[in-house]
Structure formats: structure tokens, C-alpha cells
Symmetry: C2
Subunit: 117 residues, 2 copies
């Protein structure tokens, strides 16, 4: 339904309606992977590619990198590194937000964004 591949295919096809430069082959070239590989990715014949490849796909298709990574079952390595610097604190923070409704989560995000220390 909303697998990584089928989502990609839908988005690419949508872009293609406006601009036929969004073929499998041309997108693959811009991304820097083989067309056959992208084709397989879009049909979920292979697992989502590496973080780097997903990042470049996000760029080429104008998608949010973190969101696309999540759809591919991954989390950006820069976030992982930040978490690893304060593993216990971040673990409690994230688990503490497990059952928080989305708006409560966003409130915390906003608060941190505007926070002055």
C-alpha cells in the first residue's frame, strides 16, 4: 500500500505528468544509480537502498529527507549520532513521548525550537 517503493513510484509518476524528465532512467541517472535498480526499488523487489541513495532520491524528487528515510525504515545517521551522545536522556525523552498525541509532540518541538539557553 504505502511501501517505500510504491510511494516513490507514485510521486515520480506525478512529477512526470508535468515534466517528462522524470522517467525511471533519467531520475536514476540524476540520483546516480542504475535504472534497473531504481525500477526494482519502485516495485519493492529489493529493500530500500542505502541512506545516501535515499537522500539523493529525496533531493531529486523534492521529498523530505527524514520522512523518506523513515518510509525506508531508516533514521538519519546524524540523528543517531546526536542520540548516542546522550543515550540515556534521549531514550527517556523519546519513550516519554511514545503515547503523546501529535499536537503534544509538536508543542515540545516548538518549545525546543524557540528555547533559549
Amino acid at each position: 500500500m504505502n511501501s517505500f517503493g510504491s510511494y516513490l513510484r507514485r510521486q515520480r509518476e506525478a512529477l512526470r505528468l508535468k515534466d517528462r524528465a522524470y522517467s525511471v532512467r533519467q531520475v536514476a541517472k540524476r540520483v546516480g544509480i542504475e535504472p534497473a535498480y531504481l525500477s526494482k526499488i519502485e516495485r519493492d523487489e529489493v529493500p530500500p537502498p542505502s541512506e545516501e541513495a535515499i537522500g539523493r532520491i529525496a533531493e531529486v524528487l523534492g521529498e523530505d529527507r527524514d520522512a523518506l528515510l523513515a518510509l525506508g525504515g531508516k533514521v538519519s545517521s546524524d540523528l543517531l549520532e546526536l542520540i548516542r551522545r546522550h543515550p540515556v536522556a534521549f531514550a527517556e525523552l523519546i519513550r516519554g513521548l511514545r503515547d503523546a498525541p501529535t499536537d503534544a509532540l509538536l508543542r515540545v518541538v516548538r518549545e525546543v525550537r524557540d528555547g533559549d539557553w
Copy 2:
């Protein structure tokens, strides 16, 4: 200096002073891995083991699971899953705390812990 392996070795040896059941062999048995493998792990001859193995090592040695995983370059998969449910929000939250001093981070953690929604 503080690689995963050397840290493990230090902690295990410390426990061993009080209780000689903390030999490489006996710990490995309780953890459920081969002694030779644990030996190599402690000498950093191989990369840190799987998340599951690190979790069991943490249990056996009385270490914090998230902290030990971090030392092993990993992040608990339950946290990853939570992040993947709200990738954009969590990305902004975590990156927003990148330069926050530890006490500011802990303040947010506490706030979330005590938060009622």
C-alpha cells in the same frame, strides 16, 4: 581508550574482583555467546555485537542498556521505531537539542516525563 571492548573488559574485571563468576567463559555462557567471541569483543578485535547481544551483556553486567548500545555505536530499535512514526517532528526535536547544554536537555526530559496530556 573507551572503546566498546575495553569498557566491557574493565567493567567485567571490576565485577570479578568481588565475584569470580565473572570470567570471560562464564559471562559468555550467561549471555549466550561463545567465549572466544566475547574475548574478541573485549579486545576490539571484532566490531560490537548485535543489539540483542549487547542487551544481554548489559543485563548480565548490570549496565544501562541504552548507554551500552550507544558505546557500541547503536541506538535501540524501539527508539528508532518511535522516531520513524514522526520522523520530521523528532528530527527537528533532536537537532534542536544538538547544542543544548546537558542541563537544558535534562530539563526538557523532566518536563516531558512530568507532562500530562
